[in-house]
Each structure stands twice: as C-alpha cells, then as structure tokens.
C-alpha cells in the first residue's frame, strides 16, 4: 500500500490528478471524440481510486493510470462493439509502406494532428503512447495487453504511415516536392 494505511482521497488526488492532461489528450486522440474522452477519463480515475489501496510506492503512478485508462477504453469498445483494428487492409498497408516519400521540413501542428487521426486505431495507440507519452515498449505492451513484438510492429508501421500521410498532405499543398530529397526503400 502506498501510504501504509487506509488511503486518503487527498493522497490519491495529489498523486493522480497531475496526470489528468496526459490521460485526456491520449483518450481524446484514441477515441476521436472529446465528450467520450472526458467520460472515460473520469471512469478511469474512479477505477484507479477504487484500487488505490493496491498501488505501491516506487511503481509508476502515470503508467498505472494509463493502464487503467486503456482497460476502461477496451471495455467501452466491447460494449459499443464498433472497434475495428483496421488490420483487414494489411496488404494495402504493406504496399503503402514499400515507398517512402520525403517528409517536408515545414509542417504545422494541425498537419501532424490530421495525419495522426488518419492512422488505424491500433497503430495510433502505439504511436501516441511511445512518441507522445514516452512509454517504453514493455509498458505499452502491459497497458494495451499485447506482446512487445506487436507493439514494435504497430509502432513501426504507424510511424511509416504517419510519414507517408504527412508527405501526401504536403504534396497536396505543393510543399516540399522540389527541394526535399526523395527517399526510396522500405524503412
């Protein structure tokens, strides 16, 4: 137990609430719905408080909260029965990744967000948790409930799709085609 006695709500809030922004922005991008994200973040905090007596000092409070958040999100998806991994088009993705276009230098925040939102959900989760929230592969594997190897492959493909999407967006705006180097090869 964290404090060696019956946990206090004040202690829980002091440990958990500083991570509210991190949890919300992740839920927001994973679920693509701000209202749903708010609801599930609240649910995650409630679940975390109920099991706070099992939380131990020296373990990572932020990773523990993210694990609970993903448990809540997965439960919600099962309830809604509308979550697709996007893996049906695996072959299309493989073909897409065979060609790597250059990523332009000048990109805006909204370009990154738009490209991120287009990723298949499972890839988006992996990229968010590693690239934005800076969790280790092993931590992501535990949070999402998948093997480390799957984290690595989702991350690698997610990042490659992201680079392609950014390059496509830029090409559509007419940015970066002439001066940026063309990179060929399967990265």
């Amino acid at each position: 137990m964290l404090f060696g006695r019956k946990p206090k709500l004040e202690d829980f809030e002091a440990a958990a609430l500083p991570h509210l922004n991190d949890l919300y922005r992740t839920a927001r991008r994973v679920l693509m719905d701000p209202t749903e994200a708010e609801d599930l973040v609240q649910e995650a905090f409630l679940q975390a408080w109920k099991s706070f007596h099992r939380f131990e000092l020296g373990t990572n409070c932020r990773a523990w909260l993210f694990k609970i958040l993903f448990h809540v999100i997965q439960h919600h998806r099962r309830k809604m029965a509308r979550f697709g991994t996007g893996f049906d088009d695996e072959t299309i993705i493989e073909n897409t990744l065979a060609y790597q276009a250059p990523v332009p230098e000048e990109l805006r925040d909204e370009d990154f967000i738009a490209a991120m939102d287009k990723l298949p959900p499972a890839y988006r989760e992996a990229v968010l948790l590693v690239d934005v929230e800076e969790f280790a592969y092993r931590e992501v594997a535990e949070m999402v409930g998948i093997p480390v190897g799957t984290v690595m492959s989702r991350l690698s493909r997610g990042r490659a799709l992201l680079r392609k999407e950014l390059a496509d967006q830029a090409a559509a705006y007419g940015i970066g085609n002439q001066e940026t180097k063309e990179v060929r090869g399967k990265a």
Partner: protein
C-alpha cells in the same frame, strides 16, 4: 531530384533498427553498431533525422491539447460521489455540481489542507525524488540485466556522449578497490533521460544514476540526511528493499541505488559524491 537507395546490406539492417534505436530499446551492442553506421552513412543519418523530426513535431502538436477546464472538477466530483453519473445527467447538472463544489470547498466535513501537490516540498516529496533514481535502477540494471557487461572506456564514451564521458575515469579512480563499472550509458524511463552507470562488486550490482532536474529539489529534512560533508548533503532511505542515496547539484539529481546494506551503500555514495559533484559543477558552470 536526389534519389537515395538503401541497397547496402548494412543500411537495410540499420533502417530496420531505427525505430527501436530512437526509442532506446536496442541492446547495447546493437546500439553501438547502429551508432557506428550512422556516423559514416549520410543516407541512414538523413532517415534518422526524418524520424526524429516527425516524432518531435507530433509530440509538440498533441501535447498542446489540454483537458477542458471543467474536467478536473468533474473528476473530483465523481471521486467524492464514488460513481459515474451518466453523460446526460452530467450536462444537466453541471451548474449544480459547480455550486456544490464551492459549498464542498467551504464546508468540507473533514478539515484537510488543499489536495493538489504544488511541488516537491514535503517529506513525502523527498521520498518521491528518491524514487526517481530507484525507478531507473530497477528498470535498467535489474530488468535489462546489464550487470554482466564489461564495456571499455571507449565504448562507454560513445554511449554517454561528450558531456558525460569524463565521468568514467572519475568513477574508476574514486570508487575503490574491488568495484568495477559494468556499463555507463544513456537510458530513458517514463520519458525521463538518465545517465546510468551499472557498477559491480563481486556478484552485487548497483547503480550510479544522474538525471537532470525537472523542478525537483530536496526539502531539507534532517531525518533523511544520512551524511553531510564538503557541502554535499546525502539523503538516504530504504525504498522497495533498495537503499537509495542521493544528492543534488544546481541542475542534476545523483543517486546510488543498491540492495547492499545501508552503511555500505552510504559509503559508496560518500566516496563518489564529491568528485561527481565537482565534475557536474564544472559542466554546469
């Protein structure tokens, strides 16, 4: 148009590792191999830079989004209620909730101080600062099992980078007879970067961990100060069956973490504290 073709076998191999490389998830040997190749191959270096740029851009963009202002109070209200209210109930009752929370703040049935930690200012916070070093030791020394490595000074210099490579001879000179450096490298855990030395005496492995401060500073607490000498205050406590000793400089936190007896852990920390502090002091200017 400049076309780069990654046809070289070594390039293909390195490109396959690049994602794990930027996440610091490769073994020491593969990291070294990748690093050596990147130093000589402009194409792979360009591919690496591309990935780093996209990662940095994405991180900045997503992190700009913050939680709606009312969410924090909604969470706190949910915690006090002990159950989730439906979304529709919440929107209908949001005004009532806000009023209720104001009343709650004034008439709290238990008279406690404000609940959100403002910074590392209490004894508990000192403990949390000590936990920062423990986390890296557990994550890197124990889970990655680096204790059996035996890297040369040159190998460690490559992994540590020019700023911290000079710590290797300092540690070798001061650590004392019977102690060895298994590895010195950079690692990352929970988004925090560390300079990490795995040290060894016989079968016992322990860590010297440095990390840049992120707003932390020890609160002076005589109960946790195990030793004070030459202007260095060494804090030590037992956390999760580990002895964690630490001191701070202007910009760094420095730890010795082990499962050795408290006296031995403190002895090693005391031997290294001053020379390491002086080294960091020169760097911090």
């Amino acid at each position: 148009m400049n076309v780069i073709r990654f046809e070289n076998h070594q390039c293909r191999k390195v490109l396959k590792y690049l994602d794990a490389y930027i996440d610091n998830e490769l073994t020491v040997e593969t990291t070294q191999e990748t690093l050596s190749h990147l130093e000589t191959c402009a194409d792979c270096k360009a591919a690496l830079d591309d990935r780093l740029r996209v990662r940095a851009g994405l991180r900045n963009a997503v992190r700009r989004e913050t939680a709606p202002p009312q969410l924090r109070e909604n969470v706190r209200a949910t915690l006090r209620r002990g159950s989730m209210a439906g979304r529709y109930w919440l929107s209908a009752a949001s005004v009532l909730l806000a009023v209720g929370l104001i009343g709650f703040a004034v008439l709290r049935p238990w008279n406690n101080s404000p609940t959100i930690a403002k910074g590392p200012q209490t004894v508990t916070d000192n403990t949390l600062i000590l936990t920062v070093g423990l986390n890296d030791h557990v994550h890197c020394t124990i889970e990655k099992d680096f204790a059996h490595k035996n890297l040369s000074n040159e190998q460690m210099a490559g992994l540590l980078g020019p700023d911290y490579a000079g710590l290797v001879p300092v540690i070798r000179e001061k650590i004392g007879a019977g102690y060895e450096i298994a590895i010195g490298h950079r690692c990352k855990y929970q988004g925090r970067e560390y300079i990490h030395f795995v040290l060894r005496k016989g079968d016992t492995a322990f860590s010297l961990v440095l990390t840049k401060k992120n707003g932390e500073s020890f609160t002076r607490d005589p109960r946790l100060i195990a030793l004070e000498a030459s202007g260095v205050s060494l804090y030590q406590t037992n956390l999760q069956k580990h002895e964690v000793a630490a001191f701070e400089t202007r910009d760094h936190l420095v730890y010795i973490v082990s499962e050795m007896p408290a006296a031995e852990n403190l002895e090693v920390a005391a031997r290294l504290a001053l020379p390491v502090k002086e080294f960091i002091g020169r760097m911090e200017g």
